[in-house]
Symmetry: C2
DNA sequence: GTCTATATACAGATAGAC
DNA sequence: GTCTATCTGTATATAGAC
């Protein structure tokens, strides 16, 4: 690769990386092209040498994400199985949550983009249907086994996806390091409490650890509010 | 009330009504002030005589909605009760779904507005927390009764609210008349099938009847994917 | 209060030098 | 390819006549 192309590629990834950070901090819709170029340390005009629009950039980020996922999953056969078996649902949810955490800027941006199109456009349904395609197939498999499901596989899959993606949007912290720990690091004398109170709104800052979210959702989606059989 | 004030009030409600229609058709973010005034048959400048901004108008619509809800619920005592009892959850979900249907323009607008603020702002969490306050109290009541819940009441309530509001956004039709019927009206010779295929995207138009949505979500949220106890 | 006409602001996109 | 400088489109908001 020539040195000019290398420089160009460097600029392109600088723009992408800057975009990811800006999307996470300000949200996709609030981010201006100039925010991205400024954060990347480039001039405004350079942007259009690499992407034709903000949406074009988002699609590129999405493609990167898919490519990475394809790599990681290479060779991982994923045979049909019983999602309702003891640990299965929790494990699947944990993976899904981790994927959303790792790609939070892209996931949130896609959600924001789907909403700007308005409710009548069907863009949000399309997104839900796309994101929950695999889940839908799992449910269809269960149904074909004669298992009674709570409803149409596509609808149930979409409902679960809606819950998951909206919670991820609302709860995943912008800082990719936060949220992993179960508590404050040992040795900190008087760290902030689990949930700080926002002085502006008076509402508690939601700071659920990842594990609690995944466990709670797994229990809710596996056995519902009534709980597993045999509970008083 | 004088005739001038009456005319003014008429304009104000015309603007509100036009806004509701525009929000439902184009979405809140896509709707321009001029779209509203044009649809109301008024001049652009008149808008600011009644509202200081699009957000101000939205707050007015929200206040109207709350006022109406207060009227309808006047005198309806709502004592603590067991949400997990047989028909209770379904009934509550049905009411919630109906409220969202009746106020779809406002509900979807609030969701869009919360998302423009970006993920880091916490606006979406605040909205979820506000919309699910009553549900959270019900869950806290259950917990205090010694019932084992799948997780923290506020988290579970938010998860259910997320599922419900996002599905409402994606699935509720803009036309307030559609979706009530269980099937095509009797007498129609060869009406369209239950789900039309969008020629643009090739994806199926989602057209679940309200009852199916409510029933499916009730089953999912009450007993989960595993189904009620005693199922093979 | 309502209208027409216009001002303000700013994001998106381009032109041309280097 | 990258930069600086600029143009265009458009939504919001205001001014002033009626």
């Amino acid at each position: 690769m020539g040195v000019r192309k290398a420089r160009a590629a460097q600029t392109e990834s600088a723009l992408k990386e800057a975009a990811r950070r800006q999307f996470a901090e300000r949200g996709y819709l609030n981010t201006k092209i100039t925010d991205i170029t400024a954060a990347a340390g480039r001039a405004t005009g350079s942007f259009y040498e690499h992407f034709s629009s903000k949406d074009d950039l988002l699609q590129a980020l999405l493609a990167d994400m898919h490519g990475q996922a394809r790599e990681e999953l290479a060779g991982d056969a994923h045979p049909p199985h019983d999602l309702a078996a003891p640990g299965q649902l929790r494990d699947h949810l944990a993976v899904a949550w981790q994927v959303m955490r790792d790609n939070r800027p892209v996931m949130t941006a896609l959600l924001e983009a789907a909403m700007t199109a308005g409710p009548a456009s069907g863009a949000l349904w399309d997104r839900l249907a796309q994101d929950t395609g695999v889940l839908r197939e799992h449910l269809e498999y269960l149904r074909d086994q004669g298992r009674p499901l709570p409803g149409d596989p596509a609808l149930i899959a979409a409902a679960m996806g809606a819950m998951l993606s909206m919670l991820a949007y609302a709860l995943l912290p912008a800082d990719p390091e936060a949220g992993h720990a179960a508590g404050p690091p040992a040795g900190t004398a008087a760290g902030p409490p689990g949930r700080a109170i926002d002085p502006q709104t008076g509402l508690p800052e939601p700071r659920y650890p990842d594990a609690e979210i995944v466990d709670s959702l797994a229990r809710l989606l596996l056995h519902g509010l009534a709980g597993p059989a045999g509970t008083p």
